[in-house]
């Protein structure tokens, strides 16, 4: 794996807390000394957050569709709407 990808892998291990304690300390020291690495960590964290955020949005859309489909079924529809009337 080329050097740059190995770095992305290392950042991943750091962010997912999959790094042994000693390596973690070394990595944190490297971040202190290297603003460029710090920035990569920051944006890679954002990437992971974005992936999770988008996945949840997609899941919500899928579940909305399922709900709309089930609401076409009269007995299901009644079992829900009767609660609120």
């Amino acid at each position: 794996m080329r050097k740059q990808l190995a770095e992305a892998q290392q950042i991943e291990q750091y962010l997912l807390r999959e790094m042994p304690a000693a390596s973690r300390l070394v990595f944190q020291a490297r971040m202190l000394a290297a603003p460029a690495l710090r920035e990569k960590v920051r944006y890679q964290r954002k990437t992971l957050q974005l992936v999770r955020w988008l996945a949840r949005e997609e899941k919500r859309r899928e579940l909305d569709q399922l709900f709309q489909r089930l609401m076409q079924d009269t007995s299901f529809n009644n079992s829900i709407t009767s609660i609120f009337t």
Partner: protein, 173 residues
């Protein structure tokens, strides 16, 4: 063809949504709120399941009902003596970032969604769906597991740089 998860979901909707809806109604919520809260509870349940973080021997319906109750209380801000928080099972938890706003500004979000679609799908398979490398190699037609892994890091880099670039553009504009 419907998958096993689709069938499971349909059953959960039929069996558990009415119970959750009744609880949300008692808290003063409406149908739309009940639907949203229930669906968020289902998503949280599925996430915990994928991460093997579900408490043992708690049926799905009970877990989803418990999460929905917490979400309902939070949303409707009614934690009175009738709905105490301290009887919750310690393992039933809502992820801290669950209702977090999008991690990037909207234009950045739209740009990354359009420019990095396949990468985002691959990253989702790894980091959200927690599929095994073998499943990912098969689903995304990689010849070897190693190439799937290399591609993951390439995608991480690519999306990371896209966010960085558009974040900068956003800041200067």
């Amino acid at each position: 063809m419907r998958t096993q998860e689709d069938q499971w979901l349909e059953e959960i909707y039929r069996n558990t949504l009415p119970r959750v809806a009744a609880a949300i109604y008692r808290m003063g919520g409406n149908l739309e709120m009940a639907k949203d809260i229930f669906q968020d509870a289902v998503i949280i349940y599925l996430e915990k399941k994928q991460q093997n973080k579900l408490p043992p021997e708690v049926p799905a319906a009970a877990y989803i009902g418990g999460i929905a109750r917490i979400l309902g209380i939070r949303k409707l801000k009614r934690s009175g003596p009738h709905i105490p928080l301290d009887d919750m099972d310690g393992d039933i938890g809502v992820p801290a970032d669950y209702y977090a706003p999008p991690p990037v500004a909207k234009p950045v979000l739209e740009y990354v969604k359009a420019a990095g679609k396949r990468c985002l799908q691959l990253l989702r398979a790894f980091y959200y769906d927690h599929l095994s490398i073998q499943e990912i190699a098969e689903d995304f037609n990689f010849k070897t597991q190693h190439s799937a892994s290399v591609q993951k890091y390439k995608c991480l880099e690519k999306v990371r740089e896209q966010i960085k670039q558009s974040d900068y553009a956003e800041t200067v504009s």
